[in-house]
Symmetry: C2
Subunit: 370 residues, 2 copies
């Protein structure tokens, strides 16, 4: 076979549900020469990444590391390690990613009870409590920031509900990590996962996870081996912990990029970053309403990094998005599930959360809809 | 938490069992701005990668793609999809990675029969045939290039043996991909996996896999769902195939790097690349013998990209490797399993397979051993 030409993509501005624009510093950092996965230099990089992930999650959890896969691999890691065949799991679903959690949990052999809320709305904690009344569950799982609908879920009420069921509390933080406050320890969340390609603005490919000591006790007390060798936390702990035992070859360059992306987050400051996302998403939403567009999610539950926008009657979803992409190089997201063809998803995440992005998006949308 | 300083590693030359030195073109390619995982531009990149992976594997298999995880995730993908609980698997073990295949297969609920050969030696096909005599197996798995011992296994005799057992033939090609000829179709291999960080000289993080139509029929005929959602080939086929259905967010930048690394392989030419690895490994081995060092693997079975070197009596494994790393920035590998503390592993892989690398390695080793 003849080699194709080098791959060069057209220029893009990323305002979909992820990936977001990656800062040049992060691209440069991940382009440093590859070094060995057991090199003392790399071990130092790993340790600094772990400390920074803890800071963003708001946790002291020892078991905090980036899984060598995307956000969905982070999700699978938690369910594969926390659930055994026959365990019961109470899973809250009001979008694609709640549904994915239920699916992943079932494949671990768990008995899944789903609590559903309408897409575009948050969960009612009382309904969650009622759904599992009188039963014990190994895990109560919910989505902090539902990427398919742009709904932010308040984590505060769920520790008490999990306690009633004797359950570990698991949260999907894929679209909240480094964009809105999480505070795992304050909310008593036992296990959380995220991805690198949303508010963190690193390339996709890693999944920062964190588990409490209580969650790790559960993992260590398992009766059956974890079905996944690649995602087995007891093995991963031996590589990421003091033992430094070889497990798999870590994605070294991706972790260089992660290090720089986390560093940029802490350099900006968590509070300043959250304030930026909240303030600019308000500006975007005001501008979208100014174009006569509807925002299906109630203001109180809107997720700053991701805004759901109703597609106006008579406008063609794909035609509009294709116009934005072809004329402006601007990517926004289509709807998923209940919102497929009915809504767009506009991301303001990390390095894609700037006044420049908002101005482009509003102008380009105005043109595309005219 | 205060942000740490940007991470800057000391300079290294990588001559361990992987990762290998990554060419600057590949580092630059993976540093291109991130684009969306459903962007038409990215789909073009995906298609070109698939075609190039097929060329390197020597196959026409439609089901050929890079898994979003390291080589071990590629291994897990094959066993998770090809095996169901209760299936029997005949697994050949003469090093760490055969043992890992057995472990991964067991975790899928398979009944594993292991055929063992001494570490540092190839398998005897007759013993493999005898071990499974009169039984049916779902899978016969072996390691083409055993990274823990530097043994190259001839694949030719195993199709006939697999046929006797009604088994699919699975091969670990982690250290052979793009370094020694594989020819999946010619040898009738049904499924193979590799990593990006060895003879391909891309950063670690992806696992090129390929499955025959017969293997995919097995996957489609499964009674039980695949235990891993992340690695479920029926779902991945919908994203990498014509349907382009969202599954997970692909590691976009890593795939940019993969594209360039594959392109460099085809630009050099497969035959020229194999000849370079064979010729230069001969030079390295002659040089090592010139230093009075022993090569435990018989010449007929030596894997060109990875040479096992006996540690001379009285020399301290870690002290020598530390000297090489501290004084020369040179990484070579320690021994694993039966060879831990007894042998080093010296890689000549991809961009690390040059006369410059050999000269440095021999000079530095001579100093370290003097």
């Amino acid at each position: 076979m003849k080699a194709p030409a080098p791959f060069v993509a057209k220029e893009r501005v990323l305002m979909g549900p992820g990936p977001s624009d990656v800062p040049s510093q992060v691209l440069r950092a991940q382009g440093a020469p590859t070094i060995g996965h057991l090199d003392p230099e790399f071990l130092r990089c790993m340790d600094e990444c772990r400390a920074m992930i803890r800071a963003v999650y708001g946790t002291e959890n020892t078991m905090t590391l980036p899984i060598s896969g995307t956000g969905s691999a982070g999700m699978e890691t938690l369910f594969a390690n926390l659930l055994e065949p026959g365990d019961a799991a109470l899973i809250c679903t009001h979008g694609v990613f709640g549904g994915r959690m239920a699916e992943v949990a079932r494949r671990q052999g768990a008995e899944v009870v789903e609590v559903k809320a309408p897409w575009g709305q948050p969960l009612d904690p009382e309904k969650v409590a009622a759904a599992g009344a009188g039963r014990r569950f190994r895990v109560l799982a919910l989505v902090h920031a539902e990427t398919s609908t742009g709904v932010l879920q308040d984590l505060a009420p769920f520790r008490a509900i999990a306690d009633e069921h004797g359950a570990l509390l698991v949260a999907d933080c894929v679209t909240s990590f480094a964009g809105v406050p999480i505070e795992l320890d304050r909310h008593g969340v036992d296990a959380a996962y995220s991805g690198t390609q949303k508010c963190l603005s690193a390339p996709p490919g890693l999944a920062p996870i964190s588990l409490s000591e209580r969650a790790m006790e559960r993992v260590r007390a398992r009766e059956h081996e974890v079905r996944s060798w690649y995602l087995d936390l007891r093995l991963l702990a031996r590589y990421w912990g003091d033992e430094r035992a070889y497990h798999h070859t870590a994605p070294v360059n991706a972790i260089f990029g992660l290090h720089e992306a986390l560093r940029l987050v802490l350099t900006e400051g968590l509070e300043a970053r959250y304030e930026r996302h909240a303030r600019l998403s308000g500006e975007l939403q005001a501008g979208l309403r100014g174009l006569g567009l509807e925002l299906p999610v109630a203001e109180t539950h809107r997720l700053p990094p991701l805004t759901l926008v109703g597609i106006p009657d008579g406008k063609d979803d794909k035609q509009v998005r294709r116009h934005l992409l072809d004329r402006y190089g601007l990517e926004i997201g289509g709807g998923l599930g209940d919102f497929a063809g009915k809504a767009w998803r506009i991301g303001l995440m990390g390095a894609s959360c700037t006044p420049r992005h908002i101005a482009l998006c509003l102008s380009a949308l105005e043109d595309a809809l005219s």
